[in-house]
Subunit: 419 residues, 2 copies
């Protein structure tokens, strides 16, 4: 990923689309907005995952499966389906989310300290990111994103919102690039948004306690007013004991409100393994009147983008939160992923394959020799699906969607492409 | 509604929020985008519906209930819940929607004629409207909307997208204001978007065959390239035999592609009485390469706003479309609403209460003496919930959410406020 991405120019794909549309449908071409001209479906993670649909070994998507495309749900979900009432499914949910669910999610966050608003329910975490874009980004805005980062950040913040996305160096010497991150923050010249994403996608790294403290300190010394967004999608997917045991949000929310607003994005998508449910949350690191105003604006953004979030999914998430057995089942699923993680780590080491430092989430980011897309395509021919991350010359492997028994074969297949 | 609404100024609510946020959270205030400054949760239909939550007679929301807040679902939905597989619920759905569902919806549209792309699944119809805003509207754009219209149009297109919304006169002399609509179209001076919404919200009116033909003719004579959006949310909720029996989309899609692009927005929300499911569709009135490009852009907009739509809702909608018993059940539910419609029409006539012409959808729009909000608040005190439409000095009554037996009492309560 280049360190500064031009947000408003047309990508070659969009340029070609506009030219062809002018020929085959002139009225449509004449009526496209600036955003309509520049938007297209990016050939990123989801497009590459679709390419791998027929693979016998599919390590593309960040969701847990049995390794053969089947779901591995928390039992509460499947057990609860039959108990949903017609009202739980058919009727509209409240704007901003069902109140009982919002209160239950808030209680989870409050237990970990700091200031927290009443969470607003979003239609998945992407919608929470899009809400951040609505509230804090526009054509003149600057957002610092990790490099490398999830490709959809550039799509949401750069291509769609039209903001200037600047990459900060995430990793150095086997851990966070604390100096590089600090330098990026201290170089800011006006109000900005800073994205933290731990456990990170696509690297799969989470900070230690010392690294977490250093990040909070860097934010506290920001020379400009800063919105710090914690994309906590993979929260709790920590596979090593030294990882800082909570989101940075809790400490960030206690910083000076004249300088910093902390925002937390999270949800049931990964934490509760409810990928298709589309229940995310946006919470602000403040209380009282400030929280009320920001919640109102987030709900207003939601009203203009999706109206309410799906009713049945909200009912199922609330049932999970209320189920005393759920944490045990959640731990068991995490242990399953941890076992896959350990097997991959061991396999890569035995094969002498180097990866970016990874200790959490669902991913390993593995440098390849030559073009990442070429490696991806060659693996596809072998029936092995991975994601290309050409900005860093690597492939991203989602071990969460590979059966434990298949991890050694995954390593066998990718090793020839690696250094 | 004023005929031209300034899109980019701050509403008094937003102005006050910005001032207060500057005091209670300076960093947040400094970091708000232009959109973040102007967006807030509008005190419209959904906010007024929340006010009426405790009413014994709640005619606020456009969803069918038993009149006591309970759902009245199509049996396929409740019968199918127990048959959903874990994959139908837990895993991610494809970007742009499950292919089998998209094909099934397309087959329904194709059966009614004209050109049609492969529908793209959206997260409810509001998300389809928001996709239209992404593709075709921006700060320099013009959109013609009916006056009066659903309040969320102004929120989505004006406040959020920043476009100039211009109201065209919808009704005159007991039917459509065909002259006024034609004049509004012919006065356009540059590429624009035109919204049709039949059956209409809040008026509850649908065109006759002759009116439908006149509207298509007005569009065909447009002096400028035009995107004509058919918001068909209430499709099929026709209570009189003379109503044109399909969306205008089918005829509009056959117009000259150098002048007109037809876009269809519809979904399971009202048509299949699946309000909380959040399954909408956006379809373009073209085929081949033009359709492929516009679908790609719609999916790209979705990827940046919500990623995928809820998996289980898509599975349930597909089950409904595949269920041979569904059309019969759908007709039965429509008959129930038609009976409520007939009772309201009769009751209003007997009470000498005049309404705007209504023949379809879930609503009657009834002029009141004095301030619409005052009438709404007075009715709230009686335990009767209605929506205020102050732009036309009227209240909107959703008879679909009132039990047939309660319709006479509804008329009794509202009559004293009416002319």
């Amino acid at each position: 990923m280049p360190s500064v991405v031009s947000a408003r120019g047309l990508d070659p794909i969009a340029t070609n689309q506009l030219a062809r549309l002018g020929v085959v449908h002139p009225a449509a071409a004449r009526c496209l907005s600036d955003l309509g001209q520049r938007i297209f479906y990016p050939r990123g993670v989801t497009a590459q995952a679709a390419d791998a649909a027929g693979c016998w070994l599919n390590a593309t998507v960040g969701q847990i499966t049995d390794g053969h495309g089947h779901a591995v749900p928390l039992p509460t979900i499947t057990d609860s389906l039959g108990t949903l009432t017609a009202e739980d499914v058919v009727l509209y949910a409240s704007q901003g989310g069902q109140r009982a669910l919002r209160l239950a999610w808030q209680a989870r966050l409050k237990a970990l300290g700091g200031r927290v608003s009443l969470p607003v329910v979003t239609c998945g975490i992407t919608h929470a990111l899009s809400t951040v874009a609505d509230l804090f980004l526009g054509p003149d805005a600057t957002i610092l994103v990790p490099a490398p980062c999830w490709g959809n950040y550039q799509h949401i913040f750069g291509r769609r919102a039209g903001a200037r996305t600047i990459g900060y160096p995430l990793i150095a010497d086997g851990g966070l690039d604390l100096e590089g991150i600090d330098r990026s923050i201290q170089a800011l010249e006006g109000p900005a948004v800073l994205m933290f994403n731990f456990p990170s996608n696509p690297v799969g790294y989470s900070p230690t306690d010392a690294e977490a403290a250093a990040l909070v300190d860097s934010v506290a010394r920001s020379p400009v007013p800063l919105v710090v967004v914690c994309d906590d999608a993979y929260l709790g997917m920590d596979w090593e004991p030294e990882i800082h045991n909570r989101s940075l949000f809790h400490a960030l929310s206690m910083l000076d409100a004249r300088r910093v607003l902390a925002v937390k994005l999270d949800g049931a998508t990964k934490e509760l393994f409810f990928f298709g449910g589309r229940v995310g949350f946006i919470s602000f690191g403040c209380e009282g009147e400030a929280a009320a105003i920001l919640e109102d604006k987030a709900i207003g953004s939601g009203r203009a983008s999706v109206s309410s979030a799906p009713t049945s999914s909200q009912a199922l998430v609330l049932k999970m939160l209320e189920d005393p057995e759920m944490p045990t089942a959640q731990r068991a699923l995490r242990d399953e992923i941890r076992a896959r993680y350990a097997a991959l780590k061991e396999g890569l080491a035995a094969a002498g394959v180097e990866a970016w430092p990874f200790n959490s989430a669902f991913f390993a980011l593995i440098p390849v020799v030559g073009d990442a897309h070429a490696a991806r395509r060659a693996l596809l021919k072998q029936g092995v699906g991975v994601i290309a991350e050409p900005s860093v010359g690597a492939i991203r492997v989602s071990y969460a969607s590979v059966h434990l028994d298949d991890i050694p074969r995954l390593v066998e297949h990718i090793a020839p492409f690696c250094r």
